[in-house]
């Protein structure tokens, strides 16, 4: 231990001992980051309404509450459906746009790229009220269609950026080779290019799923009635009072999210 403390920690030959304060601070910060996220999980199993930690009595009543409530379950179904549909729409649209931009090399390409990532740059609340008004006029307020379209718009920049980056490091010569061998462009893309960027595309799909599932602000305005999302209901519940059922929902959401992101990471690693 003493030897380690005296060993150099970096190119500047500063010793580990002299840097202990850094390790302590970093650990504290990491705890700060992770603890709140994880603490929800055991709290959701507490018996009392006050969500204590550690729970004095363990119980699954809040989970029962959740699964027995038609409201919560239907909201969950809505969110999952919307997320799934968003993934199905945003991924092909975004991949097509990334491919089109990458291969067409028009001077307007830069402008188009910026236009396509505006959903990331415009404040979310603005998009929300804009969509709200448009949907009232178009009579698609509180519909699944409206929700999916709005979430797709929010997810497109993600898909675009992930796919564009994968295309940049991909050797387009292979597509040229395929075409010289007799494949029309679309076939060359499907048989040669797509299989090689598939990890990026899968990541993009997962990201669009998650971004829709977690989305709060826009959903608050344009989802409602039968098609109210889980996040919307949760948000409203939070503003009124702290219903412990939310703890159980949160835990479920954490599990789903972590699962999906681990999958995405695995795919990302597998590629390299």
């Amino acid at each position: 231990m003493k030897r380690w403390l005296d060993s150099p920690a970096s190119e500047t030959q500063i010793t580990q001992r002299q840097r202990l304060w850094l390790y302590v601070i970093a650990t504290l910060i990491m705890l700060f980051l992770v603890a709140p996220t994880l603490i929800v999980i055991p709290m959701s199993f507490s018996e009392s309404i006050y969500l204590e930690f550690p729970p004095r009595q363990w119980s699954t009543r809040w989970y029962e509450n959740y699964f027995n409530s038609t409201e919560w379950v239907s909201a969950t179904v809505t969110s999952l459906t919307a997320a799934f549909l968003t993934m199905l729409v945003a991924t092909p649209l975004g991949v097509a746009a990334a491919y089109g931009l990458h291969t067409s090399q028009m001077r307007a390409g830069k402008l188009v790229f910026i236009l396509l990532i505006t959903p990331m740059m415009v404040p979310l609340i603005l998009i929300a009220i804009g969509a709200f008004y448009a949907y009232v006029k178009l009579k698609v307020l509180y519909t699944m269609l409206g929700l999916v379209l709005a979430h797709t718009v929010l997810a497109l920049p993600l898909v675009l950026i992930v796919t564009a980056s994968a295309l940049k490091s991909y050797d387009m010569n292979q597509e040229m080779a395929a075409r010289s061998l007799g494949a029309p462009r679309w076939r060359a893309f499907l048989t040669i290019t797509l299989p090689q960027i598939r990890f990026a595309v899968i990541t993009a799909a997962l990201l669009s799923f998650l971004s829709s599932f977690d989305e709060v602000v826009v959903a608050m305005f344009i989802s409602g009635g039968d098609n109210s999302t889980l996040t919307r209901n949760m948000f409203n519940a939070l503003r009124d009072q702290i219903d412990p059922t939310i703890a159980s929902i949160s835990t479920i959401m954490i599990v789903i999210t972590s699962l999906l992101m681990t999958l995405a990471q695995l795919f990302g690693r597998a590629r390299t």
């Binding site: 920690a9 970096s10 500047t12 030959q13 850094l22 390790y23 601070i25 970093a26 910060i29 990491m30 700060f32 980051l33 992770v34 709140p36 996220t37 006050y50 204590e52 649209l93 975004g94 097509a96 746009a97 089109g100 291969t103 067409s104 028009m106 307007a108 236009l115 396509l116 505006t118 415009v122 404040p123 979310l124 609340i125 603005l126 998009i127 009220i129 804009g130 969509a131 709200f132 008004y133 448009a134 379209l149 797709t152 718009v153 497109l156 998650l210 599932f213 709060v216 602000v217 305005f221 996040t231 948000f235 939070l238 939310i246 703890a247 949160s250 959401m253 954490i254 999210t257 992101m261």
Partner: protein, 295 residues
């Protein structure tokens, strides 16, 4: 050479058609964004110039300049954004530095502590803090047990709670780009400085820190811009006492159905955001031109 000239026309048409087809691949995405985002926001822009009487007027913007409550809202928004960004820099930089100094296996493991909250739903994290910071919450009970203070203090439904929540949400947005930028710093620079006689401390401040500045700048900018327009966390953790621009926009619609006021606020927020982003883009490009890039 008439046959050749004919081809010129045909070739030109072929080239145009091909470009159009490829560009057309962007059109579904573009159309969607136009319909759902650009046109509605454009309409909001227009509405912001319509007064209560339905005529063109600047009263919405006027109200923002004269009304005290609006002034307070802008001030609060800037305060929260600046404070959050500052705190994130203060605790985010050491963390990123720590990560960049660790061997990759440990760094990747520790990175999970940054990525896990990053992936976890915003709402879940906000809720977690709501519970933790209550009077009967964990933070208060542990603090009392540890003797930090005697009675439960109000650390939620106020500015404090809002800041804590915002920092927690925003920290990954700073740490991740900063970490990336730090990892890219060529270690040979540090070795050279050591060789030339710089002490570790001096080495850090004169070599490492300047080289990490672009990443720090980029991260801080992302955080600041996100804070300006943020809604969920301040709405929940502020308890109605901390009102940001985004919340005023929402209440203008939900409670007062005042589209004029809401859209004017929205336009200001948008213009501010765009100005900052545009300014940063210019600055960053300048940075790269002046050799700030070391990759």
């Amino acid at each position: 050479m008439t046959a050749v000239d004919l081809h010129a026309e045909g070739l030109r048409r072929d080239a145009f058609r091909e470009r159009l087809a490829l560009f057309g691949l962007c059109s579904p995405a573009l159309t969607l964004i136009m319909v759902i985002l650009v046109i509605p926001v454009g309409w909001l822009f227009y509405v912001s110039f319509i007064g209560a009487d339905g005529q063109f007027s600047l009263e919405n913007y006027d109200r923002m300049l004269t009304s005290k409550s609006y002034a307070r809202i802008f001030r609060t928004t800037f305060e929260v954004s600046l404070l959050t960004t500052a705190i994130c820099i203060l605790i985010g930089y050491p963390l990123a530095y720590f990560l960049s100094q660790m061997p990759s296996r440990i760094a990747n493991l520790c990175l999970i502590t940054v990525l896990l909250p990053f992936w976890t739903s915003l709402l879940v994290r906000t809720y977690a803090w709501l519970v933790l910071l209550q009077k009967k919450g964990l933070v208060n009970s542990w603090a009392i047990d540890l003797g930090l203070w005697d009675e439960p203090i109000k650390i939620v439904h106020n500015m404090t709670g809002t800041l804590i929540g915002m920092v927690h949400i925003m920290l990954p947005f700073l740490v991740l780009p900063l970490y990336g930028s730090m990892k890219a710093i060529d270690r040979d620079y540090l070795r050279a400085a050591s060789n030339l006689g710089a002490s570790p401390v001096r080495n850090f401040w004169t070599v490492f820190f300047p080289l990490s500045a672009p990443g720090l700048f980029a991260g801080s900018l992302i955080v600041f811009v996100l804070c300006l327009g943020f809604y969920v966390t301040p709405a929940v953790l502020g308890g109605g006492k901390v009102i940001l621009v985004s919340m005023k926009i929402a209440s203008n619609i939900e409670l007062f159905v005042n589209w004029g006021a809401a859209s004017a606020l929205g336009v200001v927020l948008l213009v501010l955001t765009m100005l900052i982003l545009w300014g940063a883009a210019r600055f960053l490009k300048l940075e790269q031109l002046t050799g700030g890039g070391h990759q």
